[in-house]
């Protein structure tokens, strides 16, 4: 298969970026999207040009490192997958593919297609954890209803890739924050700090320049793990009750 790639190139965070067009040929339909970019980079290195910088790590869809806005969709033209799980058979031979970095004021571009998602780490540090003291108890000593465990696990499947922020017209991180708050609030171990957690994480989210949620549902449509906006409703509940208790 052959493709025309329009790739966002930007030297560094301060430089003005632009699209560069590259032709690539001889790509197998079974090549993953990131492998295709590896081949492009190999070609660029052979030609003595700077390779395209992009984020990647596990390439199994679980680490949340890969990003890329491909032809108008976060993680490309398929549902509930990450870019590393996208294969070239999803495109037509001869297609022009436009590849852009995540766009959000809270995710500044570092270089080419790499953005700084440190804002997510800061939100987690604000309260996305359970404070455990002393000996960790055996997990099975506290019975947890199956429904609660399932809901918690659904929310915990968030890999923090940032597709929700990239897709949201407001650059809102509500789905990410909701997934963290929801996964911990549904379990007895996390319940104890639920009120403090919701307030601290939302305050940090607002402080870091993320937009607010206007319920367009774009985030859940593009979430590679299928985290739903039902968790955002729970975050709203947790946050408002915590504020009212104050």
């Amino acid at each position: 298969m052959k493709f025309t790639l329009k790739v966002w190139r930007q030297k560094n965070a301060k430089a003005k970026g632009r699209f560069e067009t590259y032709k690539i040929d001889g790509i197998s339909p079974d090549t993953s999207f990131l492998e295709m970019l590896d081949i492009l980079n190999n070609n660029l290195i052979v030609e003595g040009k700077e390779p395209v910088a992009f984020d990647h790590d596990c390439r199994e869809g679980i680490c949340g490192m890969c990003s890329l806005y491909i032809n108008g969709r976060a993680h490309g033209p398929d549902d509930e997958i990450t870019t590393c799980q996208l294969h070239m058979r999803k495109f037509k031979d001869g297609d022009t593919i436009t590849i852009e970095p995540w766009r959000s004021a809270a995710f500044p571009v570092v270089k080419d297609l790499v953005v700084n998602r440190n804002a997510f780490d800061q939100i987690l540090q604000a309260g996305g954890f359970i404070s455990v003291g002393g000996v960790v108890p055996d997990a099975n000593t506290i019975p947890i209803p199956k429904k609660d465990a399932d809901e918690s696990m659904d929310a915990a499947s968030c890999i923090g890739c940032g597709a929700c922020v990239a897709t949201c017209k407001n650059g809102s991180a509500m789905l990410f924050v909701a997934a963290r708050v929801s996964s911990l609030a549904k379990l007895p171990q996390g319940r104890a700090e639920a009120a403090r957690r919701a307030q601290a994480m939302v305050a940090k989210m607002d402080e870091l320049g993320f937009g607010a949620c206007s319920n367009t549902q774009a985030c859940e449509a593009e979430c590679p793990k299928g985290v739903t906006i039902a968790h955002i409703a729970r975050l709203n509940r947790e946050f408002l009750f915590a504020k009212l208790e104050n």
Partner: protein, 220 residues
């Protein structure tokens, strides 16, 4: 409580509560308007009740406050969101995400259209009717005013365009308000979205039926 109002979720709470209040007003206003289709006497009776009832006199400033709060908070919310995703950061290829409703992406624009026509509506009806009553002056004949305005086809078109904007605003705003307050979950979300469709449709059909009936001469 101050920190609640400064938070993004707190502002959404205010927008949602004021929006739900305005939704109730929209339904009550429709019920009053529909009496115009029954006949001039019924409509005049309702208008005179609205002018003299003490509860209405108390509720008019409350309603105005509801509008002002909804508009101010929603505008601030929108400007903050523009800062989070400035125009310079828009994608070269427009987003092709499936399942995102047109109304949800254009609530601010729809709101501006609704306000624009609302001001016109105030000039045409409220300023000549209820406001004159509150000022102790003689009011214009309400039914004659309705007949006169709705006999003009272009006024009916403008009115229907306005109701279309309200329809789309309500279509998203209804369920979105419950979601923002936290009164939603995986089971209730599709139900709320269905209620939103029904409510918006009732509002649209109800309001549009009035100019259509007057224009076609189907009223009594």
């Amino acid at each position: 409580m101050t920190s609640l109002l400064f938070s993004s979720i707190g502002k959404k709470l205010i927008i949602s509560l004021s929006g739900l209040f305005l939704l109730i007003f929209l339904a009550l206003h429709l019920l009053l308007n529909l009496t115009a289709l029954i006949g001039p006497d019924h409509y005049e009776n309702v208008c005179s009740f609205m002018d003299t009832n003490p509860l209405v006199k108390v509720m008019v400033p409350v309603l105005a406050l509801g509008f002002i709060i909804h508009i101010l908070f929603a505008s601030y919310f929108e400007f903050k969101n523009w800062a989070a995703r400035p125009r310079a950061m828009s994608y070269a290829v427009p987003t092709t995400t499936k399942g995102v409703s047109w109304a949800s992406k254009n609530m601010f624009v729809l709101g501006v259209i609704v306000i624009g026509f609302l001001l016109m509506h105030f000039c045409h009806f409220w300023a000549k009717m209820q406001l004159q009553g509150f000022l102790g002056r003689e009011e214009a004949n309400a039914y004659e005013l309705v007949v006169n305005l709705f006999s003009k086809w272009y006024y009916c078109v403008i009115y229907i365009v306005w109701i279309c904007a309200i329809y789309f605003h309500v279509l998203h705003g209804f369920w979105s308000a419950f979601q923002s307050i936290g009164l939603s979950n995986a089971n209730w979300l599709p139900r709320l979205q269905l209620f939103a469709k029904i409510y918006a449709a009732v509002i649209f059909i109800g309001y549009v039926s009035i100019p259509v009936c007057f224009l076609l001469g189907w009223h009594k």
